[in-house]
């Protein structure tokens, strides 16, 4: 007997996307397997590592701790949706590039999404706030120092972009 499928539709990176999936399909798997958006990485798959973080209706959430069917009708942004409109690196991506905020890069999509949402609410963070913001994301390469620098640099780049 095959598993019952449920229709879901949502906006992903500005485009309407839909599919028919079993209820147990995690949002992370829906993005990667059904929509072929493999920028979202899956590390621990139980909410500890933060690599799969995406934005749901503007807020950062773990895509491995959501079922695709539960976010039916929602608005999702993945790391693929965080570049500038002309295709150049977005502010957080640019900051990671400049500050050497990544090495192997596996955890990076989760950091980029988490930090993007954080900077929306805290456009001028202190170093302490930057540390708190990334406390839920694991990186085994960098030792975090350059990621903290990247958060602060990303805030600068964003503020420069906002100026006329």
């Amino acid at each position: 007997m095959s598993e019952k499928h449920i229709d879901v539709s949502m906006t992903v990176n500005g485009f309407p996307r839909s599919g028919s999936v079993p209820a147990r399909r995690l949002l992370s798997d829906f993005l990667r397997h059904d929509l072929q958006l493999t920028g979202t990485h899956v590390g621990c798959e139980h909410g500890v590592c933060g690599a799969c973080t995406v934005l749901l209706n503007g807020k950062a959430v773990r895509s491995c701790l959501l079922f695709a069917v539960s976010v039916d009708g929602g608005e999702i942004v993945t790391v693929e949706g965080l570049a500038n409109q002309d295709g150049s690196l977005g502010p957080v991506q640019q900051a990671f590039h400049e500050c050497h905020g990544l090495q192997c890069g596996f955890c990076t999509p989760g950091f980029i999404t988490t930090i993007s949402a954080f900077l929306d609410e805290h456009p001028n963070p202190t170093e302490g706030q930057a540390r708190e913001a990334i406390a839920g994301n694991l990186c085994r390469c960098t030792g975090y120092q350059n990621i903290i620098k990247s958060v602060l640099r990303a805030a600068e780049i964003r503020n420069e972009m906002m100026q006329p």
């Binding site: 598993e3 773990r62 701790l65 708190e132 406390a135």
Partner: protein, 294 residues
């Protein structure tokens, strides 16, 4: 690391949710934020046959703050409660404890009522409910009942909610301005489960002297442990000897299990250190609140 198959229903009304839970009986489970449930499903530590997603019921997301109470609906997210200035004023301990609950990203989705219903003995909010005698409203198709504070917790991950029922509201009374509270904990990393945690409440009487003092310990026993130390602290102001005496009494009253994260002796030591710190912070908080009021 994938959940076992289940049947998924997402009713749009309270009646629909209660009907679905009644129909599912022991095979049903409520899905609110899912930040504790989905890892359990993924690791196949739980495999309910039916998941009842309650996120589409409009009145479940209500957060009501009245002059006397704070009422929290079952889909109110931790982050909403933590950032509400009105909640911070009415029940400061909620914000004090919530800042330790996981990470901001988890708090965006996880629900406070769900966290209490999950009854994890290391959950900060379980200790808050026990300490402040918060009231859990439990609804099923056969009716509604209310369970207060510690009575809600029966054991690790075991609450007074029966199959076919759910927690539809948690209510806290507004704290008197003579009451100060604090939450302190020690964990390996910020946002991790506490090795030991303490919620403390102190009520001031005449002349800023302590009238009542209570503490609620989490990650120490199978359910939150509430200990009254009014007898030791009543009538005193600031005196290090009494804080130490109260903390030692609390530590001598508990017998926490040791595990891979902390031995029994270390946990007992943490209970003493954190109880003292928690009581002192709560006392300071009470003085501050009284000062603001005057």
């Amino acid at each position: 690391m994938k959940p076992a198959p289940f049947e998924y229903v997402r009713p749009r009304t309270r009646a629909g949710v209660l009907a679905a839970l009644a129909a599912a009986g022991e095979d049903g489970k409520v899905l609110a934020g899912g930040q504790s449930l989905i890892p359990l499903l993924s690791m196949r530590l739980a495999s309910p046959k039916v998941l009842v997603d309650i996120n589409l019921v409009p009145d479940f997301s209500a957060l009501k703050i009245s002059p006397t109470h704070v009422e929290i609906g079952p889909t109110v997210r931790h982050q909403e409660l933590l950032t509400s200035e009105a909640v911070r004023k009415a029940v400061p301990l909620l914000a004090q404890a919530l800042s330790y609950v996981a990470h901001p990203v988890i708090r965006n989705r996880g629900t406070s009522v769900g966290s209490i219903a999950h009854a994890d003995p290391s959950g900060e909010l379980t200790a808050v409910l026990s300490l402040l005698d918060g009231v859990v409203t439990i609804e099923g198709q056969d009716g509604t009942r209310e369970v207060t504070g510690s009575d809600f917790f029966l054991g690790p991950l075991e609450s007074a909610i029966n199959s076919g029922e759910m927690a539809t509201r948690v209510t806290f009374g507004r704290l008197p301005t003579t009451m100060g509270t604090a939450c302190v904990e020690v964990s390996r990393r910020h946002g991790d489960y506490a090795l030991v945690g303490v919620c403390a409440a102190i009520v001031l009487g005449e002349d800023h002297q302590i009238d009542r003092a209570r503490i609620s310990l989490f990650s120490v026993g199978p359910t939150p442990i509430v200990i009254d130390v009014s007898g030791i602290l009543k009538g005193i102001r600031i005196d290090s000897k009494h804080w130490r005496e109260a903390a030692r009494f609390i530590a001598s009253s508990v017998d926490p299990d040791g595990d891979i994260h902390a031995t029994t002796a270390y946990r007992k030591n943490l209970v003493e250190v954190l109880s003292k710190r928690g009581l002192q912070c709560a006392y300071q908080n009470a003085l501050d609140r009284v000062a603001v009021k005057q």
